[in-house]
């Protein structure tokens, strides 16, 4: 049978083999860097920054994608804010199915739990601040009827979002609780700039792209050529189901870039978001990050792999620390409620989790949209 093989087949085979060889060589030459971290820590943000600085930047097609993602983020965030206000104040809109009503019928148990916990947590007056005034009914109705993932920002939509965001105190009050209901900080930036991002000729700039928030699913990789070195960086999703996939990418890793959000010590992880009554001291993304970091350090194949710990959102942390102490996640912290000592404690805590002294551990800090600020 082998004799039947034609010459052209042979040539093709040889070409394919050559390609494979070439790829193999390139693979061994490239340093494989794996971006890991809990959901929402900023892995993809970091990846986007790398692409902007060391890669060829983002092309028009990608920008179109980011534009749609930003539009989606705006719509989903405002919908969440409205729904939460309506749920807490038990003030359904006529004709709109309450999202917290389950797909069919009421779940009595959950409802009872919600109202009980709210009774404990909040007084009537506190609840009253989330009441959306009747004059916004039309805007709420319009916005809730939109299918979040498909929407383009029309003029009408922009007007409704603007009016709710700028004139409705209940929406602002609810936004203050964004840490519990899974609304990204950057949504405020997009709400404030809604007219610009809603224009038909809008193209996202670097800052918009970096601030866009959406869940990453699966894995994406990109090669960066920096001077003579080739880096192959892999970005992955961080939610619990996505972490099960990480093991597929562990082969031949030069270093793990582990990303931790400094501000997540009072944020509920996406996969745990319930309602305003959530207790952030029991479950927050910092505790989740610590757990994920410990699990990652424990992998047999990483015992000799270098780790670079990236502490992200240092700029937002400087603001948050004034309002919220890190004792939410680190009950043993006794230092002052200030940026430097708190961050110092967090970084030391993470480093102390490494039980392999010869493993190289590096620390880096970065701001949400300024890369590679070496903080110390």
């Amino acid at each position: 049978m082998g004799g039947c093989m034609s010459d052209s087949q042979d040539t093709t085979d040889r070409n394919v083999e050559r390609e494979i060889e070439k790829d193999k060589k390139q693979d061994t030459r490239a340093h494989k860097l794996l971006l890991l971290g809990a959901g929402g820590s900023g892995k993809s943000t970091f990846f986007k920054q790398l692409k902007a600085i060391h890669g060829e930047g983002h092309n028009d097609r990608e920008k179109e994608g980011f534009k749609r993602q930003i539009h989606g983020q705006v719509v989903e965030s405002i919908q969440l804010l409205i729904r939460q206000c309506k749920t807490v104040t038990k003030d359904p809109l006529p004709g709109i199915k309450d999202e917290d009503d389950e797909p069919f019928g009421n779940d009595d148990l959950d409802d009872a739990r919600l109202s009980n916990s709210l009774k404990v947590e909040m007084t009537e007056t506190e609840i009253a601040q989330f009441k959306i005034a009747k004059e916004f009914d039309q805007s709420c109705q319009y916005l809730l009827e939109i299918h979040g993932s498909r929407s383009a920002l029309t003029e009408q939509l922009v007007t409704h979002v603007k009016s709710l965001w700028n004139e409705c105190p209940a929406i602002q009050a609810m936004f203050e609780h964004r840490n519990k209901i899974g609304i990204p900080d950057s949504s405020a930036f997009f709400f404030n700039d809604i007219e610009r991002i809603g224009r038909s000729d809008y193209t996202p700039d670097h800052k918009d792209i970096v601030l866009a928030r959406y869940r990453t699913t699966g894995m994406t990789e990109k090669e960066f050529h920096i001077k003579d070195a080739v880096f192959k960086v892999l970005d992955v999703g961080g939610q619990r189901n996505e972490r099960k996939k990480w093991i597929h990418f562990f082969d031949g890793v030069t270093a793990v870039l582990f990303v931790v959000s400094l501000t997540c010590y009072d944020e509920v992880p996406f996969e745990d978001v319930t309602d305003l009554a959530a207790d952030v001291t029991l479950m927050n993304s910092m505790l989740e990050s610590i757990k994920v970091f410990e699990d990652t350090l424990d992998f047999e194949c990483f015992q000799k792999t270098g780790f670079i710990l990236f502490f992200n959102k240092a700029d937002l942390m400087q603001e948050k620390i004034k309002r919220v102490p890190i004792t939410n996640a680190f009950p043993n912290y006794k230092g002052p409620q200030e940026f430097k000592p708190s961050v110092d404690y967090i970084s030391k805590y993470f480093l102390s989790l490494n039980r392999v002294p010869e493993r190289e551990m590096l620390l880096r800090f970065f701001f949400e949209y300024v890369l590679f600020v070496n903080y110390w």
């Binding site: 994608g65 989606g72 199915k97 148990l109 899974g182 699913t217 894995m219 597929h248």
Partner: protein, 219 residues
Amino acid sequence: LKKGKRSNIRKQLSQLFKIEPLNSAADAGHAASQQDDKKVQLSPINEDAEKQAPEIGIQTVLADWDGFQLFMQHVTTEFSMENLLAIVELTQFQQYYHFDRVKVDAEEANSSDTFVELPLDKIPHSAIVYDKNLNIQQKCVELCEKYVLAGSIHELNISYKTRKYLTDLYNEQFSSKTVSECSFAFDKVIQELCSVILDSFWRFRDTHIFQEWASKKYT
């Protein structure tokens, strides 16, 4: 290589759905190879078509059999095929119980029922949804075991609320729910997935494969 990859996807799809072909296997194989042949004759990328590309959304890609297969291939390489598999299987579930999807609420009864548009006549049938020996509650249970429960084989990236809601129903084997109520059970999951999958879609749109497909479709 292309041919290999494509047949691989068919294989994966059929393994996952335990394929129940509408046509004979030979027919399906023939159709697939015809499509592959066409693929080889593609003209170089046409600039006009590329300009149109920004207009092509995920709905258009998913509704087209070629587009669907290429996107499936893409999400497989990115390790996120569970999203698309679930969209397909849960949409088949919705469609299978199309006539049971009657809303009690008078105001909602008028709203039209919309499904994700997929080339369902070409996609293999879900072994769970089309199993004549299972009732709707049992199908819901099996779909939860496959996609929803924490630790399930194709566990999805969905919100706590949606997962908890379905997990609670799973624990009582959907026994308190009527057929009509069950037929809506996964609507929220599909809605969430349509948002999550966009992350993969925008990357897919930046690939050469997508542009080849778009130029073929729009020239």
